[in-house]
């Protein structure tokens, strides 16, 4: 039974790429390190052997030029997946991603779309410091014309990669290296996780925790712990950052009256601020306590592992925030 087959998160991405490249000759993978597990883990396993160097293209270190080439190929009818082994490297590629790909369909009056995936990997921790670990999904989410997905589970990683490849728009797919080893049942067949739909990971009635990517796992641990203290927490997994599943969030807050937002990025001007504003605008009357956020402090990522522990929030920060909104 395929539904019982377990797969690691990274291999779920790998399977999505295999299946999409087999199904659609216009899909190709391009980026720095696609030949090397050192860069992209085992997400690209056996792709080169199976599909050849014409469709699995390891590149010179030229993020701007290569990303632009992928955008141009998409405009010319291909469906590229361009991978950046670290999100930090994507700053060089902001022009093709934002100025060109995100705007293309609109500024050409719908005459040509850019069906492609910008895939970037977050690399938290490991004393990698400020330029090897940044989570910049909030910046992408700010840009009209881009969709942004952030799977937390292996099932969603496969389903969202397939949905991203099949979407007629540019989609930014953000994963996190620390998730690569997580394993769960993943169907063998091709399936899509709908872009724009979040999911209730755990039902509860006392408080809502909205989380994304790795923070979903921290939120689940926090919810277990809080349950033992008699607090019933609902955990929402956004799965897609943009377009945001507003109804999922608002319905939950209307039920619980309390919300904690756990993001991967910096606190100021990021998606936690966006969700807080959404709740304030549309569910203010349901709130029994102020909205709280668990996010990175406004500080570059440090190298020292001692400082890293202070920098990256975890389940304990979520527990503290939930207790605060519960008045405990």
């Amino acid at each position: 039974m395929s539904s019982h087959r377990k797969l690691q998160y990274s291999l779920a991405i790998n399977e999505a790429l295999h299946q999409m490249m087999e199904k659609d000759a216009s899909v190709f993978l391009i980026g720095q390190g696609v030949k090397s597990p050192w860069y992209v883990g085992n997400t690209a396993r056996n792709l080169l052997e199976r599909f050849g160097a014409a469709r699995v293209i390891d590149t010179p270190v030229s993020e701007n030029g290569i990303t632009g080439a992928a955008v141009g190929a998409a405009i010319a009818g291909m469906k590229p997946v361009v991978v950046h082994p670290r999100l930090d490297f994507m700053f060089y590629a902001f022009d093709p991603i934002i100025n060109e790909a995100a705007n293309w369909y609109y500024m050409n009056g719908g005459k040509a779309s850019v069906p492609m995936v910008f895939w970037g990997i977050i690399n938290r921790k490991g004393e990698q410091a400020a330029q090897h670990s940044q989570a910049i999904h909030g910046i992408f989410a700010h840009i009209p014309g881009l969709k942004v997905v952030m799977p937390a589970t292996a099932y969603d990683a496969k389903g969202l990669m397939i949905a991203a490849i099949q979407d007629p728009n540019p989609v930014v797919f953000v994963d996190e290296r620390l998730l690569y080893g997580f394993e769960e049942p993943v169907p063998e067949e091709i399936y899509r996780v709908e872009i724009g739909k979040g999911r209730i990971r755990r039902e509860g009635k006392d408080a809502t925790v909205v989380a994304v990517s790795l923070m979903v796992h921290e939120a689940m641990k926090a919810a277990e712990c809080l349950a033992s203290e008699g607090m019933d927490v609902e955990v929402l997994d956004l799965r897609t950052v943009k377009p945001l599943d507003k109804e999922l969030i608002l319905n939950s807050v209307r039920k619980t009256g309390r919300i904690v937002i756990a993001d991967m990025g910096w606190k100021s001007f990021g998606i936690s601020a966006e969700i807080a504003a959404l709740v304030a605008e549309h569910a203010f009357d349901s709130l029994k306590s102020p909205i709280l956020r668990v996010a990175l402090p406004d500080c570059p990522a440090p190298a020292s592992r001692i400082l890293e522990k202070a920098y990256y929030p975890d389940e304990n920060d979520i527990i503290g925030a939930v207790k605060k909104v519960m008045g405990k």
């Binding site: 010179p60 030029g65 992928a70 190929a73 100025n99 293309w104 050409n108 040509a112 069906p115």
Partner: protein, 325 residues
Amino acid sequence: MGYDIELLEHLFRTMLRIRLCEESFVEPILRREVFTPCHLYSGEEAVAVGLSSALSRDDYVFGNHRSHGHFLAKGGSMREMAAEIYCRESGCSRGRGGSMHLIAPDVGMLGSAPIVAGTISLATGAALASSIRKDGRVAVSFFGDGATGEGVLYESLNFAALMKLPVIFACENNLYATHMPIRECRVNLPISRIAEPFGIEIHTVDGNDVLQVHEAGRQAVESCRTGKGPVFMEFMTYRFRGHVGPDDNIQGSHTDIRPKEEIAMWMDKDPIKKFEQYLKENQLLDKDRLQVIKDEVMAEVLEAQAFAKNSPSPGREELTKYVFA
């Protein structure tokens, strides 16, 4: 010689279509009926027309901020372009793009954009698509001398050379990057030499001689189509008007610092006048035939202007219609 008359007529007619269409916007811009920033192509027609005449309909072109000529030369509709310049719903980009975003996918005009050098990598990628599909298409990137200051040009040259992509890097050297003389922007070497370290085939061409452009273009396209990899072409040319807007001294503000003698010298090398003279002297097209073409082109331009001005603007209710496909 030995060009058939159809080609010669096409070259003359298309250059004239671009010139008269561009010039038809001078008054509307001065009257402020046209607001979108127009970077007029007058004076550079031979480049777009000569090179595009060496391409087939399926080949790809990416333009830049000054792409009215590229769009028309590749076969885009004049009335849709005119309507776009008036930002009307009937424009090629439905009034969402304006003068700097011209597209006609049906004829291989894949788009234009004003971020300097921003479309060079896109054209390289269209060539990559062609190379993966093995469909024989060639992609052309039109950019100006100012774009040689951008890093992405060098990234694209390297990648295209490495992958032997069928892309033509077409540099229109009009000697000025907006207001800056090119000698104040870069060390004074021929621009085409930047392609040398990448082992890319280079052509330096008189960009005001449409037959020379066509001939060099044919060779470059052939080279790309037979898998020999990219070609870099530098076209020496000059714009007759300012960087943006219709006047040498932009709308009376005297921002164009080009010397009068230099402008006069290049006006003498007007690519259309030169070609008309050549056609007459060699008795390839007679005066009457040339007059018929001129009349037809003028009628087309007037019709395009009327179509554009009479077209409705986009509706407010459709503001966000094309954010996502």
